[in-house]
Symmetry: C2
């Protein structure tokens, strides 16, 4: 495919990429120090031991591109016809760090840096707040600062925080802040925690190839099945990578969840106000980051509704202009493409 990709509404829609990553040097340094000290979990060791130090072409490219919030990135967007990028501090954010002062500082400074970049490129960049879920109260304050002072449009949390999940009680201030201030909560993957990673690293499958999806869909399903959306009916959850497969599985989730509840199989699982389908179609949005797959995108639209599915590229981890051409050519209606590439993201993030 050789059509030149252009920004500015080439086919009657802008292209907004909603899960695009950046890093800061001090974030990578802190994670690599943890890895060197043998204190990082296996997923972080594998992820950043590789992306942080490998001399391969792929990782050298990704390191350079993650650290850039300037012309290199805008040029890459221009090459792919991406009008706007919704940017977030790359996985695992600061969630692997044990020193809370350090973790809060790195997150806050990443937010400041991202805000500067958004001011330099106000028509191209949109920010999501980085938080430090190890300190939920501080994170709630930073969410307020992100929304009110920095002009950010969401928050990205990189799945588990040292083996803990957002449905646990201690994280309630974060969920409450998202619901109260209408901040979309984007749960991005990281590797599974040590208690779930088994032999996946040895098998080469704990990362974006497989473990990420397992970890993040598990996280999302914990939220769906424990009444989080009964407590916070306005909470907006965003999941990448084809909504982490939830729409594919939703009938099975719902059938087996209800079978377990009716038989009182698990003390933790109680009846909910609605079916799991309801929460998927009311509280959840899906993007296709890393999954430029028409069949999967169409399934998302069919199961979730076409107003809940947004485009994403996953730059710089996945930077393939032909994927944009493939999605431009999907066999869906023009109106559906406008929603997918542009207006669903505008509504979701208020941009």
């Amino acid at each position: 495919m050789t059509t030149e990709l252009k920004t500015g509404g080439q086919y009657g829609y802008l292209r907004i990429a909603t899960e695009e990553a950046f890093a800061t040097a001090e974030q990578i340094d802190a994670i690599l120090r943890l890895v060197a000290e043998g204190r990082a979990d296996k997923g972080t060791v594998s992820l950043w031991g590789f992306y942080g130090t490998s001399p391969s072409e792929r990782t050298t490219f990704i390191r350079e591109r993650l650290l850039d919030l300037g012309e290199l990135r805008v040029q890459a967007m221009d090459e792919c016809g991406i009008d706007k990028a919704v940017l977030a501090l790359t996985s695992p954010g600061v969630q692997s760090l044990f020193d809370l002062d350090e973790a809060r500082g790195i997150a806050a400074r990443a937010n400041d840096r991202l805000k500067d970049a958004c001011e330099r490129y106000p028509t191209r960049f949109v920010g999501m707040t980085a938080v430090c879920p190890q300190d939920p109260e501080w994170s709630a304050q930073e969410l307020r600062r992100g929304k009110e002072e920095l002009g950010f449009a969401g928050v990205q949390i990189n799945s588990h925080t040292q083996g803990h999940y957002l449905d646990e009680e201690q994280f309630d201030p974060i969920l409450r802040a998202c619901a109260d201030m209408d901040i979309p909560l984007y749960i991005h993957p990281q590797g599974p925690p040590d208690g779930m990673i088994g032999g996946m690293v040895e098998a080469g499958l704990e990362g974006a190839v497989f473990g990420f999806a397992m970890e993040t869909s598990y996280h999302a399903l914990r939220l769906l099945t424990t009444g989080v959306f009964d407590r916070y009916p306005s909470l907006k959850l965003v999941l990448g990578h084809g909504c982490e497969g939830l729409p594919f599985w939703i009938d099975r989730f719902n059938y087996m969840f209800n079978a377990g509840v009716r038989s009182q199989r698990y003390p933790r699982l109680k009846p909910l106000r609605h079916s799991l389908h309801h929460y998927l179609r009311t509280n959840v949005w899906g993007t296709n980051s890393g999954l430029p797959s028409p069949a999967s995108i169409k399934l998302l639209m069919e199961v979730m509704g076409e107003d809940r599915v947004c485009y994403a590229m996953d730059y710089p981890y996945q930077f393939v202009p032909d994927e944009v051409r493939l999605l431009d050519a999907m066999d869906i209606s023009h109106e559906q493409k406008v929603k997918f590439f542009q207006t669903n993201a505008e509504k979701l993030f208020g941009i």
Copy 2:
């Protein structure tokens, strides 16, 4: 929906259900003994601690129906318009057991019992061999007996065997027997092994609701990414539950697998002869057990090809006649329904 469901080609196709479960009393007894002794893994404790002992309506029904290979089952098939059921010893088979004599004996006697049932109902029941992967050489012999003496059409292995996976070298006799004798290998789920189950039991998510799919898709991906189908190009792998999600994810699997191979990220992962798509479309079949979901079934057909997708019910764990009505009414062509309900299974299993 109230249309009466009938066997015998009600709409121009027979309905063959390809992932239907039975148990033997000594199998359940042996597993429950292991649970009582505190020697079973967490997934088995949760699964059989529940199905084996709970007084709930659901589990009482399932226990009775699992143990029956007679009129109750045929009557249930008649009620749903199921012409033939492909039957296998229920999860985890004998794979949790430590005493190999006991495990082999239970598997062999289950095979004998299933053969008797198939002889009593030759037009209704088709058998799959139960094996004891803890003893791969014995399992290879039992596969031969199953194929040549008992007339069975496949083998069911219930995912991991005490934390080990079929791509590991010690299981090669099983894969070789399947390839040499053209025996479809149906990998059925069980709970993740202790090293991967994390907090899933406490979360109520380690079973059929979620953990099963995670475990089994991991197992299948291990086979796809380690050259098993380059070694055995004729090996047939069957996966239930929407092919355990593989077709939804295949583009991401393939992209990230190849990115890892090119960067030499993992010692274990080497270049393969083909893309992962090739193996999915050449060596893998998918059934919709537990996933009576038109959107997911259509995705399977689009990604794998319509000759590789078969119907299954998952009786007695999921016994909902309206699901048959829903699938009869899917918006696919009549020819596709004939393949889905009948002829794909006939070709795959040679029945």
